[in-house]
């Protein structure tokens, strides 16, 4: 009964209900884009850290979890490897460089990551092989970067860094490709840490031979589940360091939490606005129908049927509107330039869609209440 009445009404007034659906569709598109942007920005920032095959990361204590301010050396690594429960530790250095050759679309800025071959910190290899030699001009490239440059294992690339005040060029042999590994919005190139130490941008050239100073250490535990217990053990054994899990490290990335909370707030507000706007639409709609509802009740339509009519319409319009919005978003996403960091396949997107399906019904609760409270006596003027 409710179904019959709801759909008849929608059909006979399809212009108006299409308008409601369009509003929902637009809000959907907006929310999904914000969610995608949040996801994309998040990924561009954190991907590399996320992908490090380690259970804990070690920073210099004074650095306050800022990678670029953290300085560790080989002594730290030796000490770490001696601690019970630690399977292995590898140093990681973070810097930047520019790929100048090949450059089919111009020079590309990249994150230059130094790792110890065979130790934690190295990326998962998708094609080719990992870094092997400690001190060689080898490199593992971020997969999407390689695709952009048009290189594969066996090819050579040239990167440029500033040494002192001069720009220097270095040739690297591509030995392998990893999956996508972005750090600080840039794709990553992994080189052996000693190579990294030589070619990374630095103020003076006169420090060859001294010990390698890198940024953080990646630690693998025998019992990964037990990482929280290991933290005090590590910090107690070694002076001047701080151990954290990856999630904490990610939250400490510069700008990360600011970005995410801003975008999440925007999403929440858009959903709220949607709820209020739709609630308003449905409320006005229902108020205009009060006489009709009164008549229906007077001829014996139950409250259940009347409420059913109202909510069915809201649900139908919501599903239709969200579907339209998802299609629209999809079409726009296809036409978007690839530089825009927008991530459309994720749980966050699914969560957003679920929330969107609810803004209609929640907004419409008021109108359901109005419908339920209409007195059939109205129909006879009492």
């Amino acid at each position: 009964m409710s179904f019959f009445l709801s759909f008849k009404e929608i059909w006979r007034n399809r212009g108006r209900y299409l308008l409601f659906s369009l509003v929902i569709a637009l809000i959907t598109t907006l929310v999904l884009f914000i969610a995608a942007l949040a996801g994309g920005l998040s990924k561009a920032n954190r991907e590399l850290i996320d992908n490090i095959q380690a259970d804990l990361l070690i920073y210099q204590e004074e650095a306050d979890l800022l990678i670029s301010a953290s300085r560790l050396d080989n002594n730290t690594l030796t000490d770490l490897r001696r601690i019970e429960g630690i399977a292995d530790a590898g140093g990681m250095g973070f810097s930047t460089a520019t790929v100048v050759y090949p450059a089919p679309e111009g020079e590309i800025d990249i994150s230059l990551i130094g790792t110890e071959p065979g130790r934690p910190g190295n990326p998962q290899i998708l094609s080719g092989g990992p870094l092997i030699r400690d001190r060689a001009n080898e490199a593992v490239l971020d997969g999407p970067l390689a695709e952009k440059l048009g290189v594969k294992p066996g090819d050579q690339i040239t990167i440029q860094t500033v040494q002192g005040t001069e720009k220097e060029l270095y040739n690297l042999n591509v030995v392998g490709l990893s999956g996508s590994n972005q750090y600080f919005f840039q794709p990553a190139i992994f080189v052996p840490i000693q190579t990294w130490d030589e070619i990374k941008p630095q103020d003076t050239t006169a420090r060859r031979g001294s010990r390698v100073i890198f940024n953080i250490a990646a630690v693998q535990l025998y019992d990964p589940e037990n990482y929280s217990a290991m933290i005090p053990a590590i910090e107690g054994s070694i002076d001047g360091i701080q151990a954290v899990d990856k999630q904490t490290a990610i939250l400490a990335l510069p700008g990360y939490t600011a970005q995410q909370s801003t975008l999440n707030t925007q999403q929440a507000f858009t959903l709220l606005i949607g709820m209020l706007v739709l609630g308003g639409f449905f409320q006005i709609q229902t108020i205009q129908k009060i006489a009709q509802i009164g008549m229906l009740k007077a001829i014996g339509t139950s409250n259940g049927t009347v409420a059913g009519m109202t909510i069915l319409q809201i649900i139908t319009i919501s599903i239709f509107g969200v579907a339209l919005g998802v299609i629209g978003t999809f079409l726009i996403a296809m036409g978007m330039p690839p530089e825009v960091p927008a991530e459309f396949n994720s749980n966050a997107i699914l969560g957003a869609i679920a929330a969107l399906l609810f803004i209609g019904p929640i907004g419409g609760l008021v109108s359901i209440r109005i419908a339920l409270k209409v007195e059939p006596l109205r129909a006879i003027g009492l």
Binding site: M1, L5, Q292, L296, G300, P376
Partner: protein, 270 residues
């Protein structure tokens, strides 16, 4: 002939103590199957309140109402809605029809509500509309129908589910004279044909010419119940001032009179 409707000392009092208002005061009357009754009276006479109680929309403060053998007193809210749906037909002054359903769908609505909608039911609805002269209007929406046609569709809707009691609230409220007579005459014929109990609340005394029984109410009390033809027809013709210069008389129902008589009792309800 069975008695479809029995009311016994039905009273409705609003408020309490000093501010109590007695809308209906100890009304007692019966309506039999196939009997067409008019309830008349000025504004504030309690006739609409009486109608509401008959339609199970209001509970009497005192007294009892029995429709189709069932006493309304004991019924709870949901039961009453169901009872209303199955046993009572109702037409209203305005907003009679669902605006997004066709004439036929509006009539079928009553059957759908009662979960009694099948092929036979649809045919019955069509036949009823046909009987009311609306077979060419089945697929029209209410806004494509004239006032008289809307009222007739409402009558069909009020009777298609074969209720014990059919109620009409001011059925001629927005109709011109000719249509008004048409509608009430058709209504009366259907009531007689289908042997239902029919009650029309109206302030237009000309219309009582079609009824079998007349109930007059004033200030909540029933002043008069009569089925005497002379009295009833006399009422129907009292709506002109004998001293007026325009010498009108509606000597038989349905005849179009030229010009409206003066002093007509045209009040508009609240």
């Amino acid at each position: 002939m069975g008695i479809s409707l029995e009311t016994n000392q039905v009273t409705k009092i609003y408020g309490e103590g000093d501010t109590a208002v007695t809308a209906v005061d100890q009304a007692s009357f019966n309506v039999a199957d196939g009997e067409f009754v008019a309830v008349v009276g000025p504004s504030g006479s309690g006739k609409t309140t009486m109608l509401a109680m008959l339609a199970t929309l209001l509970t009497p403060t005192n007294g009892s109402i029995t429709i189709g053998g069932q006493n309304l007193e004991k019924m709870r809210s949901r039961q009453r809605t169901k009872f209303r749906r199955q046993n009572i037909g109702f037409t209203f002054q305005a907003n009679n029809l669902v605006p997004f359903l066709t004439a036929l769908e509006n009539v079928e609505l009553m059957l759908r509500l009662n979960k009694a909608f099948d092929k036979n039911a649809r045919q019955r609805a069509k036949d009823l509309l046909d009987r009311l002269g609306l077979s060419h209007r089945l697929n029209n929406l209410p806004n494509q129908l004239s006032g008289g046609e809307q009222q007739r569709v409402a009558i069909a809707r009020a009777m298609v589910h074969e209720p014990s009691l059919v109620l009409a609230d001011e059925p001629t409220a927005s109709l011109d004279t000719q249509r008004a007579f048409q509608v009430v005459e058709t209504f009366a014929n259907l009531i007689h044909e289908q042997n239902r109990a029919g009650i029309m609340v109206t302030h237009d005394l000309r219309m009582v010419t079609y009824v079998d029984k007349l109930i007059s109410m004033v200030d909540g009390r029933i002043e008069q119940i009569t089925d005497d033809r002379t009295v009833i027809d006399g009422m129907a013709n009292t709506t002109h001032d004998p001293a007026s210069t325009v010498n009108q008389e509606a000597d038989s129902a349905g005849e179009v009179v030229n010009g409206l008589p003066e002093n007509m009792d045209y009040e508009y309800t609240k």
